[in-house]
Symmetry: C2
């Protein structure tokens, strides 16, 4: 669990207008990613899919949106202290890149078990890496030590209003690119992207259903939404390694009030979905990014004939270890 109630602001601190403010702040620095279609996948699932290609985003994932908004929201004095986070994945690379753009140091606490590919990416963008042991407690201890030593500002991967507003900019762009959108499917891990997307969808020209999709094996967000209170994460793993993070408190409160539903998908459908996106849509996506499309391979959603936005959240994958 991250921080607890005391460390997050009231849900009313993040509004859909903040997503528009974030887009204005970051738009010259990030890619306005394309929306692509694929007739063969449309036929397969019986809907009009609109893939928002955050796999083609700078640093290879949507995470640069939130990190960039957070880094450029700091005043000069705070920024000069540098930024820090713990992350084993795309947030690390994103924070490193955003800090490099602003010319401030970034330090990332990375578990020794993290993917060497993702760790190397954070280093390539200029972050200082601080290794730590396995487990949430070790990560948080290492980050606390770092902050008390350097005074760096922590940019949390999802429990932050600026990060949530930044992540929402992908769906805000998509609403302008696809004015007739009926629904949007978004992967859920910590919940920052889903929360931001739900706020963004309020700015769409028409009503848009916002649906989160989560691996069945790590379904704490779906259980939390049903229970009305955050549920503990499972210990299980998933091929969707970017979604293992447990749901954050601030994202949860936004999701509770703004999101239509969260559905879950089995592992086999995630792998099948990933392969279909590679083979038919010709896009490299990481397993986590295939999770929303996987929901369309099952029977849980009733989106036949609808225009459905699918956020392809990232494309950072080890080409030597494909899951098929």
């Amino acid at each position: 669990m991250h921080g607890g109630m005391g460390s997050v602001r009231n849900v009313s601190d993040v509004h859909s207008a903040d997503v528009e403010g974030a887009l204005a702040r970051i738009r010259t620095r990030i890619h306005h990613t394309p929306v692509v279609t694929c007739a063969s996948l449309d036929r397969l699932v019986g809907a009009g899919l609109r893939f928002k290609c955050e796999n083609l985003q700078k640093t290879g994932s949507f995470k640069i949106r939130g990190a960039c908004n957070a880094v450029y929201s700091l005043d000069d004095r705070d920024a000069s202290r540098g930024v820090a986070a713990h992350s084993s994945g795309n947030h690390a690379a994103a924070l490193a890149q955003a800090a490099a753009w602003r010319g401030i140091p970034a330090t990332v606490v990375v578990p020794e078990s993290a993917s060497p590919v993702k760790r190397a990416a954070a280093e390539r963008y200029g972050a200082t890496i601080v290794p730590c042991g396995a487990g949430q407690a070790a990560r948080e201890q290492a980050l606390d030590d770092l902050v008390s030593r350097t005074g760096a500002v922590v940019v949390h991967p999802h429990d932050s209003p600026e990060v949530i507003a930044g992540q929402g900019t992908a769906v805000l762009e998509m609403c302008m690119q696809v004015p007739d959108l009926d629904a949007v499917l978004v992967p859920v891990g910590g919940g920052g992207l889903l929360a931001g997307s739900a706020l963004a969808a309020r700015r769409c020209p028409g009503p848009v259903s916002v649906i989160g999709v989560e691996p069945e094996r790590v379904d704490d967000a779906a259980r939390s939404l049903r229970a009305g209170v955050r549920q503990p994460p499972t210990d299980a793993g998933s091929v969707a390694d970017g979604l293992l993070t447990s749901l954050g408190e601030l994202p949860f409160r936004i999701i509770q009030s703004e999101v239509d539903d969260i559905v879950t998908v089995p592992e086999a459908d995630i792998v099948r979905a990933m392969r279909l996106i590679w083979e038919r849509a010709k896009l490299i996506v990481e397993p986590s990014s295939a999770v929303p499309f996987a929901a369309l391979l099952g029977d849980d959603l009733d989106l036949g004939g609808k225009t459905v936005g699918v956020v392809l959240s990232g494309g950072n994958v080890n080409l030597d270890a494909l899951p098929w």
Copy 2:
């Protein structure tokens, strides 16, 4: 060799205005594909790359542009006889799709040795497949038999003014998407895409160098350009299986007068280029599509600091048989 001099029209039969006409004819049917950038590949080669994503095009390659232009250039009476071609690859799927859109039959002669993935694609788009033996002679005999039996109109994959004009529309679009383009790199097999691209580049706002890139092992286009007369193909294979076709007569004449240079690349650079595009640009490209970028990994081109268009010609690849 395809047809010989008697079967092709004078080079003056294809003009840059025909590329504009082709775009007007096909633009509502095909994708206006995105141009994407990749900072990490820019740094690697020291140029500003603009990838024109024909891998995201309908049927998975630029071939739909030429096939669609050819099919919709037929008058109703000719069209009613159906269309035919011999092809083991992307042209087969493209012709099948274009014919399906127009509601006419398509028949494709496919060697029994052809990739089952590409054959299945042509069938999925509705073509009738006629198998034939190996070698150019067997393919042409099977096509001749078919035409005398059915009266179908042959749509040649590159020795056709309509096909060349259609293929040029990708670079015509790119010239509008990237007004400051300095050069464009295009793969060469039969030469239809390169010839069409060179005609299209004349319509760009500024001067654009048009450079063909060919695998070293199948370098008949480069040798032909140097010799001033079409040279026989080599027997060699290449990982870039889409570029094994020998240079066509009509494309050659256009290339001679309109193209700045043709350079060649070794096999190892093609594989390395393909992997880099997958890993960094997050785009699935087939080996032939990696050939132009491969030229930037060597020292033959002097494009440092330039804005360079790279046509990613297709993304139809067997995910179970990757070349690394």
